[in-house]
Symmetry: C2
DNA sequence: TGAGTGAATATTGTTGAACAATCTGTGAAT
DNA sequence: ATTCACAGATTGTTCAACAATATTCACTCA
């Protein structure tokens, strides 16, 4: 049950290039390819059994998703988000997410889905499973953005959340970052159910501010440079 | 700038693929390549003087920007936004733009820049220059999104505005769509200057609703199918 | 010893040709 | 007229090569 970004999925050898792109995406998301590491065209094309040309095309796709950075004549590297990138991530989230809860009109089905996500998050917290909690948290924020009904905004949120995962992978020891926020997520849903959209938006903004500060604190302490 | 079709022996080694991508982008934006038209790999690679392989890579980039759609084994076509795409465009704008004015803290410089844009729009309207008005309108909404300080959101807005231009190109006779909205833009800036952010956000949302309705009306009347 | 220099090497960027897979359109047979 | 098959055209992918740029490393000279 991966919630990785799915584009044109399934269909095995439909397009080799899309297949390769998804393989690389999965490996990066799984932390198998650590941020900053170089992706050599020759070795990768050999190990994946594809031409250097199609691999290159897959690189173009991944670069468009900004989970890989391309330096001319130097090669492509797994994106290594730093302090500035984290700030940018939260600039986006602080704009989109509160707007979604402020002006969104949640259907009962959407509210129930969010409640289900909250339950899963609580179960993961009680079980002490950090990856499960990370997944649930990501699902929650995707559900929030889905309130806008916009596919483009959902894609942007996907991109941003993928970058978030890279940030966590870049930190040597990932703390239980999400523990504090499970209940705040639940509070937002409760306010939405009561129709207190303005309150929910304000709380969500404060919540995001706190999360950014905490994350930046960890990041500064762990890896000041690079 | 140059619209020369021949790249005989000039302009090499400046990242051919990016160059080709920008050339195609410019031609599409200029309406030289109309929405729905097919981009043949063979003829384009010949006329542009590049390999079919690098052209293909440029296609991957443009597809990532969704100004071109790729149909497997059929080819790539200039995106032809329809009714559903217009609705999606306004879902995005109705989320991002009001959020930017509601939670943004405009600097005096930003306000002055917006005033300058308004002046340009008024001059264009008085001169009856539709393209100038379109440019000014686009600049205004980019300035609005810039209030968030986010580069990613600005890029998304760019993408959306590029799609808007395709919509206009798809309409046989583009009416003076922007005429009505120059003063409403000015009103938003005025409210921002007075610190009435909530009012500005509400007005902007109503404004976007009206624009969407008008555009959809034109679109239904002009080209009902594909 | 250490810093600067320059050739040797490796990697990326681009090309052209080739072949497989798929789609399109035409014509023949029923 | 409908269906089927076959040839033609276009896209998807691979391979081998070369040009351009980066990196490495040995070497000279203070």
């Amino acid at each position: 049950m991966n919630t990785a970004t799915d584009t044109t999925t399934a269909a095995e050898h439909a397009h080799t290039t899309a297949w390769i792109a998804s393989v690389l995406r999965a490996r990066i998301a799984a932390g198998q390819l650590t941020p900053g590491s170089k992706l050599s065209e020759q070795s990768l094309s050999e190990s994946l059994g594809v031409s250097r040309n199609t691999l290159r095309q897959a690189f173009a796709t991944l670069a468009g998703e900004s989970i890989v950075t391309r330096i001319p004549n130097r090669g492509v590297f797994v994106a290594a988000p730093g302090v500035e990138e984290v700030r940018e991530i939260y600039r986006v989230r602080r704009t989109i997410e509160p707007a979604a809860v402020l002006w969104g009109r949640p259907t009962p089905a959407q509210l129930d889905a969010m409640d289900a996500i909250i339950r899963k998050a609580r179960a993961a917290r009680d079980a002490g499973s950090v990856p499960e909690m990370a997944n649930a948290n990501q699902a929650f924020h995707e559900a929030v953005v889905s309130l806008t009904g916009s596919e483009l905004l959902r894609e942007l949120m996907d991109k941003v959340l993928a970058e978030m995962r890279l940030v966590f992978h870049a930190m040597s020891a990932a703390p239980d970052f999400h523990t504090h926020y499970v209940d705040r997520n639940a509070a937002v849903v409760e306010q939405l159910r009561r129709g207190e959209n303005e309150r929910a938006a304000a709380d969500l903004r404060a919540y995001l501010d706190a999360a950014e500060s905490e994350l930046l604190g960890h990041l500064e302490g762990e890896a000041p440079n690079r």
